[in-house]
Amino acid sequence: MTPADLRTALRPAGLVTEQPVGRSTAWWGVMLFIATEGTVFAALLGSYFYLRFQHGVPWPPDGIAQPDLRLPLVMTAVLVPSSLPVAWAEAGIRRGRRWQVRAGLLATLVMGGTFLGLQGMEYHENLREYTVTTNVYGSLFYVITTFHGAHVTVGLFMVCWLLAAAGRGGVSARRPEPVRVVAYYWHFVDAVWVAILFTVYLSPRL
């Protein structure tokens, strides 16, 4: 390597060029969709902190106990790893292995379904103590978690749809886009859960 090469590499024009392989319109579409959905969640969690700081102590108010961490941690252990089978499925479609797609998606479906079931259990517990109308904390808790649960449900619909489409041969190594779109969305739903875990369950203790 010559000094000239290095100079080329280090000059500011290095900021100009881009990768030769461009992204597809579908990639951009789903990323922008995720960006705007992410903003909804950011605003929602931001509202949580705003209301908490404006409310002052104690938080949770009205003698509501600190959120129990055990079940949410189990839920996290179920939901977050569910990104792996999706990623595996995505890797499979690039090599044209349709069975891998189907197996990965099925695993995700099971994990996502379990998550929703656990969320139902948690609601069953919590509803005895407070409901969505009890006070602002109850409203925040149920609205945030339900909103995320709805996203998980949508994600599961997408996975089901993809399973059906994959069965009919709608996806292939040459058309991996649907799998990728679903995968990105599912990763997003997972990542949001981590933020929710931090905000709703951990932050009252911090």
Binding site: P3, D5, A9, P12, L15, V16, T17, Q54
Partner: protein, 323 residues
């Protein structure tokens, strides 16, 4: 307003650890900085003696390194530390030096290559092996993904450490405090390296602007939360430890979180964007702005000349410049 949490912290000002741990953590900071200086200096010396002064690692990068080290020193042991002890707002000022001065300056130093050169041979080899492995090349090929990760890390570190409990923990234990500050510097350096770092870590101008602005919004949200909170968010002893209005201290601190970051990002984003646009103009000219029937000046004519865009990307393949 009573103490926010359990009130066990008492009313007295926090001492940021007892003098012994204080001394230890100071020693730790100085040692780490000295090691960094030695490594960076040796790597740069080697490069410059082989290729000539100012080659590979430009002079301004070395200056950036010096600035970064100085900023860390000032913030963690010098006057920054004194401010931090005096008030919460001062402490936020200290954090801002780390986040907005030290981080970007160290990112501009592009310390990866010099430090790798200075590292023992075995470490170097292992590093090189990792870089060429699947995982390593995946990371290397995706500066964009790295940038997003850096942004997320930056926001997480900022929010995480400034929640009341972790903040108090850091304030009480010198080592945790050192870890807090180290994480700020690392997160900020990672974030700003997408803009100022070695070429291979940079992302395109518009993408850098997006990442920076998104991170800025997250930081601003924290600043806003502190500034707009109606009462003290932190337990007693942290806000206005030496008397004064705790709320005013907290509000000032919120603004100190808010403004420097915003200004830094705005200036940086403006410069990057304009520079990117100017670079694009050089590579692919916009050309004359006159209609063809205009009486003035020659208008580009003739068959479609080769536009630079039809050539292969001007940039060497990624990784070529990394030995």
């Amino acid at each position: 307003m009573p103490a926010l949490t359990d009130g066990s912290a008492g009313g007295g000002p926090l001492a940021y650890g007892d003098p012994v741990t204080q001394a230890w953590s100071n020693l730790l900071v100085v040692t780490v900085l000295a090691l960094l200086c030695a490594g960076y200096g040796r790597g740069v010396h080697e490069l410059w003696s082989r290729r000539g002064t100012g080659a590979v690692v430009a002079r301004w990068r070395v200056a950036g390194f010096a600035l970064g080290i100085a900023a860390v020193l000032v913030a963690s042991t010098g006057p920054g530390h004194v401010w931090a002890e005096r008030s919460f707002a001062g402490h936020m000022g200290q954090h801002m030096i780390l986040l907005v001065v030290a981080g970007p300056a160290l990112a501009a130093a592009a310390p990866g290559l010099p430090l790798a050169l200075a590292a023992p041979r075995r470490l170097r080899r292992r590093w090189a092996r990792w870089r060429t492995s699947t995982a390593g090349s995946w990371v290397r090929r995706r500066p964009g993904a790295l940038a997003v990760l850096a942004g997320v890390l930056h926001a997480a570190v900022l929010w995480g450490w400034h929640l009341p409990a972790p903040y108090r923990l850091a304030a009480e234990h010198g080592l945790v405090h050192a870890a807090e500050h180290a994480s700020f510097v690392v997160a900020a350096a990672l974030l700003w390296s997408v803009l100022l770092g070695a070429d291979r870590h940079r992302i395109s101008g518009p993408a850098a602007v997006l990442v920076l602005v998104a991170t800025m919004l997250a930081a601003s949200a924290l600043g806003a939360a502190l500034t707009l909170a109606p009462g003290p968010v932190y337990p007693a002893g942290i806000l206005a430890p030496h008397g004064g209005d705790p709320e005013a201290d907290q509000q000032l601190a919120g603004l100190l979180m808010w403004i420097p970051m915003d200004v830094a990002v705005l200036v940086a984003a403006s410069v990057v964007f304009l520079r990117w646009l100017a670079g694009l103009d050089r590579a692919l000219p916009r050309a004359s702005g006159l209609p063809p029937e205009g009486p003035a000046g020659p208008v580009p004519r003739g068959p479609a000349r080769a536009d630079p865009i039809d050539r292969a990307p001007a940039r060497p393949a990624a990784g070529k410049d990394t030995r």
